[in-house]
């Protein structure tokens, strides 16, 4: 594996160092210098020099017993800084807490990143059960309510571009037909909320609404995720959850500077 060719005007060593960090951030958290060199198609000496440099910056650290490398403490600080500087996330914290306690289910806040929704905030279902933090998770936009809520209010060209890309099924219920999905999005634009009914994970559903900024752009979405039997009892969306999500997204949009009229994009005015 040698990775993509560096783009013109970029610096090769920085690109290589970045790839080292990414490989350490994937499935195998501890790797020896030989393994890293092989994975990235680098000479061992080159990999070693890069690792030493990253280690000096605390971006990687070496296990004293096994000599293997892993991500360093500076990475956590960078990750947290990313989240702290994220305006939508910062403004969503209190709204998400109160939405979770109001509905009794987990709440997620996401932004569109390429064709995926990146989860930037996650409040656990308030029942003291063990749950795994999904911040940083990446979900195909068409398979989650957050994604549908955001995309429904994007400007026409952006929405069309997303519909033209491959729509991968995550379950047997994921909508992968662009014509069907387009109708779903039109309904979301009218309703103001989006539903995901076992389209991402079997047994789970999500109800979400877009968050708008001061220019009327759908910069993200907030939604409640939980067992399908609770969010979509007998095939119908739980009205109380829909209302709670809608109110929360309006409040959060106001905090983000959105005008009282809400979305200004052409999508909502079709």
């Amino acid at each position: 594996m040698t990775g993509p060719a560096p783009r013109k005007g970029t610096i090769q060593s920085v690109e290589r160092a970045s790839r080292i960090l990414k490989v350490l951030g994937s499935g195998t958290p501890r790797m020896g210098v030989t393994e890293i060199a092989e994975r990235l198609g680098l000479a061992k000496g080159t990999a070693y020099g890069l690792l030493r440099t990253l280690e000096a910056q605390e971006l990687v650290e070496q296990d004293p017993e096994t000599d293997k490398y892993r991500l360093g403490p500076a990475m956590l600080q960078l990750g947290n800084a990313f989240l702290d500087n994220h305006e939508l996330r910062a403004r969503s914290l209190l709204w998400a807490d109160s939405l979770a306690s109001r509905t009794g289910d987990a709440v997620r806040v996401g932004v569109l990143h390429g064709t995926n929704v990146l989860i930037v905030h996650h409040v656990f279902r308030p029942d003291n059960s063990v749950q795994i933090l999904e911040v940083g998770a990446s979900i195909p936009w068409h398979a989650c309510a957050l994604g549908k809520a955001i995309v429904a209010f994007l400007a026409e060209p952006s929405r069309r571009a997303l519909l033209e890309l491959e729509l991968v099924p995550l379950t047997g219920r994921t909508v992968t037909d662009p014509a069907v999905l387009e109708k779903v999005l039109a309904a979301v634009a009218t309703e103001g909320t989006a539903l995901e009914d076992e389209e991402a994970i079997v047994g789970e559903a999500e109800i979400a609404a877009p968050v708008f900024d001061d220019r009327g752009h759908s910069v993200g979405a907030i939604g409640v995720v939980g067992p399908v039997e609770r969010l979509v009892p007998e095939g119908r969306q739980a009205a109380a959850v829909v209302a709670a999500v809608r109110e929360t997204s309006r409040g959060l949009s106001r905090d983000m500077g959105a005008g009282r009229v809400g979305p200004r994009s052409s999508a909502a005015r079709r």
């Binding site: 990414k22 994937s26 989860i119 990446s138 995550l170 047997g172």
Partner: protein, 229 residues
């Protein structure tokens, strides 16, 4: 199908004729419950790495309920019994595993119809229907790091043994071995379905909990078709 031996087929007759009745299903479900209970914490530990950290607890709760339910259903034919167990799993396991394993057993039960007995060929068809049920719900293919990665090779091994002239016991044993290999093979995979897929490359290096449970169900099957040890 040899109807004459089915009414009260004992273990010795099962081996001779390769014909089974509802008692095998009883043994299987109990063996599943034992396997899951014995590995409950391990399953949860696997799930904590790439899922919601509740797989072991959920599966244990569901199969315990299924076993309790079995005591009240001793006179049901194999098909109806499996449909009932499947329903219990859907309701009591919850999460994604409940609908997936529950639908699997329901479909397998439906494949048996209302027959009082079944042979190894019927069992293979039932297992195949079970996989269809799982794939219908989850849309997973082999290589997606799911239940299917243990189940599909197990089913294939079962069929291979059967076509080669093997009996149900041997086929089930081969299936259990293949399921175990399939389970281990999920470690280096990147998840493309389920919550683990949200993690992208971070899902690499962890064994899939669903594939692990599946290997327990096939191990339990091998023990049950053998007559139960």
């Amino acid at each position: 199908m040899v109807a004459a031996v089915t009414e009260r087929a004992d273990d010795a007759r099962e081996r001779v004729f390769d014909v089974y009745d509802a008692t095998m299903i009883h043994r299987w479900v109990r063996a599943c419950a034992d396997e899951v209970a014995a590995n409950r914490d391990f399953l949860t530990q696997l799930d904590a790495a790439i899922g919601d950290a509740d797989h072991g607890i959920n599966m244990d709760r569901g199969f315990s309920a299924a076993v309790t339910d079995l005591d009240a259903t001793s006179d049901l034919p194999p098909g109806e019994l499996l449909i009932r167990v499947g329903g219990t799993l859907i309701y009591r396991v919850g999460g994604a595993a409940g609908p997936l394993f529950g639908t699997c057993l329901r479909r397998a039960g439906e494949a048996f119809g209302d027959a009082e007995s079944f042979d190894a060929e019927d069992l293979w068809k039932a297992l195949r229907s079970g996989l269809d049920g799982i794939q219908g719900l989850g849309a997973a293919e082999e290589g997606d790091k799911t239940i299917v990665d243990a189940y599909a090779p197990a089913l294939a091994a079962f069929e291979r043994e059967l076509r080669g002239g093997g009996d149900g016991a041997t086929a089930s044993r081969k299936a259990a071995e293949a399921a175990r290999e399939g389970m281990r093979a999920t470690v280096p995979m990147q998840a493309r379905k389920g919550r683990a897929s949200y993690l992208g490359p971070r899902s690499v290096g962890h064994q899939d909990p669903g594939a692990t449970s599946t290997s327990y169900l096939f191990a339990a099957l091998a023990r049950s078709v053998d007559g139960g040890r």
